[in-house]
Amino acid sequence: MAVLELTNISKHFGAIQAVNDVSLSIEPGQVVGLMGDNGAGKSTLVKMIAGNFRPSHGTMQMDGKDLILHKPVEARQHGIEIVHQDLALCNNLTAAANVYLGRELRRGVGPFRILDYASMYKRAGQIFAELKSETRPRDLVKQMSGGQRQAVAIARTMLSQAKIVLMDEPTAAISVRQVAEVLNLIRHLRDQGIAVVLISHRMPDVFTVADRVIVMRRGRKVADKTIASSSPEEVTGLITGAIEQV
């Protein structure tokens, strides 16, 4: 069964039709590349799944149940995690503090509860180990490489039992070696049965790691096929409009 199913989703802002009648379904443990030029509607689509916007039309279902989101926190409660393009990290805090930001562990009784540093360091360390990342929970994020920063942002999604992780341009603006690291992180998520939606401009990344590619143009879904049955040339054609639809 699909973990996330979108049916005839549209979103318009006044007269502007940002997303137009898009249907798609995402299976558990599947990596889906979401591609399209700037303004194609990728971000708007993702923001609806993330609870930032409500769709103007259409329905979203999660595990077969209707999904109505009013704000981002609710998406998180449903197991939808987002890795933002700018990663949303605080440089002045440690890796562990960033992983737990907004859902800090505490110990104590009633109103007398203090931060549980030991447990947060321990669990964060376990997650980094699972991700096979050389990230130390006690290090400040400002001292970290781009790949490590990505690991911190991704580790955040693994705190709770995420079902689907949306990643917005995770490989933009990092070095080649770090891109390989990030693609590995994505594979680790997939291996744990988590569905990953990878929004990217980078053709090689999508063709390396994704199982499926969805292409959007001018608010419409113009392609949705397996990586094996597509090619970078075809996807480029679809993005630019040289190929109308497949």
Partner: protein
């Protein structure tokens, strides 16, 4: 031999000692200690019980407000209204008690005034998006003006039936001959340190200063916390005002004039970063101590008091210079 992932992760980046040497607060503490040692030998008057009593007590008023200011500065904000809020709170206390009410009611009214002003600042900043500098600059003017209105610009020095209680509260020395204000300062510093290090609220304050956008995205209640920090800052000014009233035994409408700059100086000298994200309770106290030791020493060494500003300003620049040098080294 290959280094495994676990070994890399287990490796500690900083020892306790290297962390200490890298901290601005540490060097300011050294400066304070050296200055005290020097003054003890250079002058007869410094290491006397009376002078030490004076110094420790004088530190407290700036230090207590610096503790509150630390919260604001960590979030990346600034509160210029504290000097005026101190004056207004003192005046509310004085006028209430002068009118015949008990000390409890006076303190309650004074604290309530401070909190209301803090909430007003905070709401304008957090919910309406006003720049903190502008809002608190406006409040600097408003609060002092209100203090003048409340007292009709007179000096209040009679505090009704609980007059002596108030003087004892601020001017007494109930434990081991340590001035009461010092005790309040230590207590408030401990609370501040605890909140910053051990509570979710404290963690979120640092997060807001580090990356406000990230804090919002991860579900930190940024707006509520911002209102809270401006209320804390105003509250600290209110508390300092009450204690100072008890110590001085009189309130004038120019009480706390220019104090906001001393408070901000203390916070910055103690290691807080005006860009946000960095600051400690201990640093605020140490910063206040350095300023007071400088001021005291100039008097004892017979240097014209007009030079005070030069030395305090120099200390601010020197403290930040150390921070810059460390950053240059890190970037190399």
């Amino acid at each position: 031999m290959a280094v495994t992932l676990d070994q890399t992760i287990a490796q500690k980046q900083h020892t306790l000692l290297s962390k200490m040497f890298a901290s601005q607060t540490f060097w300011v503490v050294i400066a304070v200690i050296l200055a005290c040692l020097f003054l003890s030998f250079a002058t007869d008057a410094f290491a006397t019980q009376k002078n030490l009593y004076n110094i420790t007590r004088n530190i407290t008023f700036v230090a207590i407000i610096a503790l509150g200011m630390t919260f604001v500065i960590i979030t990346g904000g600034i509160d210029l209204s504290v000097g005026s809020v101190l004056c207004l709170s003192s005046m509310v206390l004085a006028v209430t008690m002068h009118a015949g009410y008990s000390i409890e009611i006076g303190i309650l009214a004074s604290i309530a005034t401070a909190l209301a002003i803090g909430a007003f600042n905070g709401i304008l900043i957090a919910y309406l998006g006003f720049p903190p500098f502008v809002v608190t600059l406006g409040m600097l003017s408003i609060a002092r003006s209100l203090a003048m209105v409340a007292s009709n610009n007179t000096v209040v020095f009679q505090f009704g039936p609980d007059h002596n209680k108030l003087l004892a509260l601020g001017g007494g020395a109930w434990v081991f001959g340590i001035a009461n204000p010092v005790l309040y300062m230590i207590l408030l510093a401990l609370i501040t340190g605890f909140v910053l290090r051990w509570t979710k609220f404290g963690r979120h304050i640092f997060a807001i200063g580090g990356n406000e956008h990230a804090a919002t995205l991860t579900g930190v209640p940024v707006r509520q916390i911002k209102v809270a920090v401006y209320m804390i800052s105003a509250l600290s000014a209110g508390i300092a005002g009450i204690i100072q009233t008890g110590w001085l035994g009189a309130v004038t409408t120019n009480l706390g004039t220019g104090m906001e700059l001393q408070v901000i100086a203390a916070t910055v000298i103690g290691g807080a970063n005006l860009a946000g994200g960095v600051g400690t309770a201990f640093g605020a106290i140490v910063g206040a101590a350095l300023i007071e030791v400088i001021r005291n020493s100039l008097g004892l060494l017979g240097i014209n008091a007009f030079w005070q500003g030069v030395f305090i300003g120099g200390a601010i620049l020197l403290a930040v210079l150390f921070d810059r040098i460390r950053n240059f080294r890190r970037n190399d």
